[in-house]
């Protein structure tokens, strides 16, 4: 396993190919849950967890089920099934074992079910680490790291956005721009800023 490669994945996923600000995936929670830093952090952590676990499950399914039977074209529908079922399962477990965590995370978990960023990261893993249908060496570890750092990037974007929006509350915004309108403007400016990272080449 190449540490340099993992570092490259980390920087790429957090900054250059940030899922929200460069790939425009998972925009609904980005605008919906970024009003307070606290809930944004919980949401981000939940996404990191779900992304990493779904990456593990989907990689295994793809490698041991879809490739041997030559049905790679089923990946999208199978991955959606995996993510939805997995999130449901996690929700039940958390609800039973940790009511406190459920209360702080509860409403965000169903949101993650339909979060395109999670599906995006699993599909991206398959695209990156199964070139020409063959698994690359250490591909499993790489894809888990890629999902984890994609989650970190998601968390970063969410925290940055919520920080800005908390301060925006006190700004004298024109009436017609208040609320979601100014949030979209902020999001696009942040996205422009993150596109500046595109100059990095590894």
């Amino acid at each position: 396993m190449d540490v340099g490669k993992i570092l490259a994945i980390a920087i790429s996923m957090v900054f250059i190919n940030n899922f929200i600000l460069s790939k425009f995936l998972g925009l609904c929670p980005f605008l919906g849950v970024s009003k307070e830093t606290k809930s944004a952090t919980s949401m981000g952590l939940a996404v990191i967890f779900v992304m990493t676990c779904s990456a593990i499950i989907t990689w295994l399914l793809y490698y041991f089920l879809l490739i041997p039977f030559n049905v790679e074209y089923l990946r999208t529908i199978v991955f959606i099934l995996v993510i939805a079922a997995f999130v449901q399962f996690i929700e039940m477990v958390i609800r039973k074992n940790s009511p406190a965590l459920y209360r702080s995370l509860g409403i965000y978990l169903p949101l993650i079910t339909t979060n395109c960023a999670v599906l995006g990261v699993t599909i991206l893993n398959i695209d990156n680490f199964f070139p020409s249908g063959q698994a690359v060496k250490w591909g499993f570890a790489y894809s888990v790291f890629q999902a984890f750092f994609a989650g970190i990037g998601f968390l970063l974007a969410l925290i940055l956005m919520s920080g800005i929006r908390e301060r925006l509350q006190f700004a004298d915004t024109p009436r017609s721009m208040r609320g979601v309108a100014i949030a979209f403007v902020v999001a696009s400016l942040m996205s422009l800023a993150f596109m500046g990272f595109n100059g990095f080449r590894f």
Partner: protein
Amino acid sequence: MEILIPIIILGGLGLGFGLVLAIASKKFCVEADPRIEKIFARLPGANCGACGFPGCMGFAEGLIQGSCSVEKCTVSNEEAKEEIAKILGVKIKEEVKKVATLHCFGGNRAKDKYTYQGIKDCVAANLVLGGQKACVYGCLGFGDCLRVCPFDAIKMSEDGLPLIDKDKCKACNKCVEICPKKILSLSPLSGNVFVACSSHDSGKDTKAVCSVGCIACKLCEKICPVDAIHVVDNLVIIDYNKCTSCGKCVEVCPMKTIKKRE
């Protein structure tokens, strides 16, 4: 044959996940408090939010947790409240019944200062120089309040003013919040006199734009036997803690600004 493989794989996966979830939902099932359902069934279900909770379900949960009391629901009737109190094992406190009241009687009687041709919406009209009425305090008459009312208690009268049905009104505060002129308020139903004007202009200026506005003549203040009425900043204010609803002010008011609720 080839078509069978994807069918089996997808069907098998779906079935597998379904089974796991079914078993998990049995194994990890959380017993919900049965009282929540019972209370929810007795709440009005309008989800108006007057209690400050997100909908009736949120209110029911709040009641169980003890973070609020039954009286917070202004909408449900006395019987329902008593039943809920019984479920919770608490006594309810008597609360003053309130009703939304419009503090303006201008409508078509108040003059316009320009012809408004925009969206027929009070908030929109208010953005254009404070609305088309010459009286800057008065009702604009586009009926934002009746659109927002969840109980269908507000109708538009022929005078171009919202008429509030005091039996249907549940004092949910929605119309009070939406009104851009802030001329609706919740006043106690027991005090059945109210001031139908919000103008802080001087008597002369009010008279110039509206035939029924308060001219701050102070006749009501002088006649009130219990010192409940005062003219503050060119407008009559009734103190409902002192008012006995004797109706003397209604008779004496030259502009018929103070009214009795029918």
